[in-house]
Amino acid sequence: MTKLTRVVSLVGSPKAKNSTSAVLGDSLTTHFEAHGVDVKSYQSHRLLRRSAEMVSFLDDLDRCELFVVSTPTYVDSLPYVLTAVFEAIAAHRVESSAKQGQRILCIANCGFPEPEHNDIALDICRVFADAAGFDWCGGIRISAGGVINGMPLEARGGLTRNYRDAFAQAAHALIDGEDVPETAVEILSKPLIPRKMYLVAGSVGWIARARQEGIG
């Protein structure tokens, strides 16, 4: 199998900072960079506002071997900003001279403690992949994303060790031209903390944030 040399990473979150999706994408791409893989990173919301950046992105996308998409699930599917970028990519790819054999990996995360909430988002990504000429090499579902809350996984210490190991396993497989191992997908699909603990923490968190804003 040909070793990986060029990756394009796209964050589907509309957040300018503290994006859990960006953290999850970085958890994979830092391993690529450590192995000398060239990684070009983009954010969907910036591409929609900066046409020159969109042109560079599409050009890099045509020349990469692996396209990594990391996105939140919004109202059961992809956020607007990523949907719009996907539409632009599909339109561009009709006439572009993209490389053959390009692969795509999609990571979807949600704020609920069940990974199934991401399923439709990943189904849409798979249809996009076929329409845009990418070979699917894995879909990762992350639940209880509020535990990560935009912070690097290392900052959570032992709590995220399994996730970090799973991303490392996934990255090495992708570098070797293989699909994301099912064992990594399985580990990443489990929430970091028990469901009941997450729900209580979530509710307390919303109340605290509202009080900070002078509400309630």
């Binding site: 919004y74 607007y80 944030r209």
Partner: protein
Amino acid sequence: MRAVLLNGSRTDNSVVDEMAISVGETLVKQGLNVTSYTLRDHKIGYCIGCFGCWTKSPGECVIKDDNREIAEDIIQGDLLVFVTPIVFGGYSAELKRMVDHLIPLISPFFRKLHTETHHRMRYSHYPNLLAVGSLPAPDPRQESIFHELVRRNAISLGDAESRSLVWYESDTLATIDELMHDELEVLR
């Protein structure tokens, strides 16, 4: 009975505009008062995921543009109608931009529905949901995703009754009336 119709057609998709007109006409024939929004003609910024609609101005997006008026109209209606080209099995970006702005209409707190966690509702009433999507030709995979998306959206937006239809652009617009007839009996 009042319907709010969201037309998610893109600028290059006049077929979907015609579909939206046909859907609106069918709703009127069935006795509904219809307010239609061709979303691309409205100033709607995209949701930035700040959750200000839950913590800063509960029930209302912090972005002051047409999303607020449309969301208010939706929650006061009886039927919410999505009209959209089916894009990779989901909604068009135009429609999704407004669908993302429906988050203010629900609560940040959680509830359990069967084996899944969902958000609680903010209000005592939510409209039923009808989604009409178009495809150039039959595509079972995209249609399956579209139907499941609408079903789950209806759960997210108040456990509403929902129906979803797919119209093929190779058919005549007259078939839309037929497709909608039985579904509207359930949703009214």
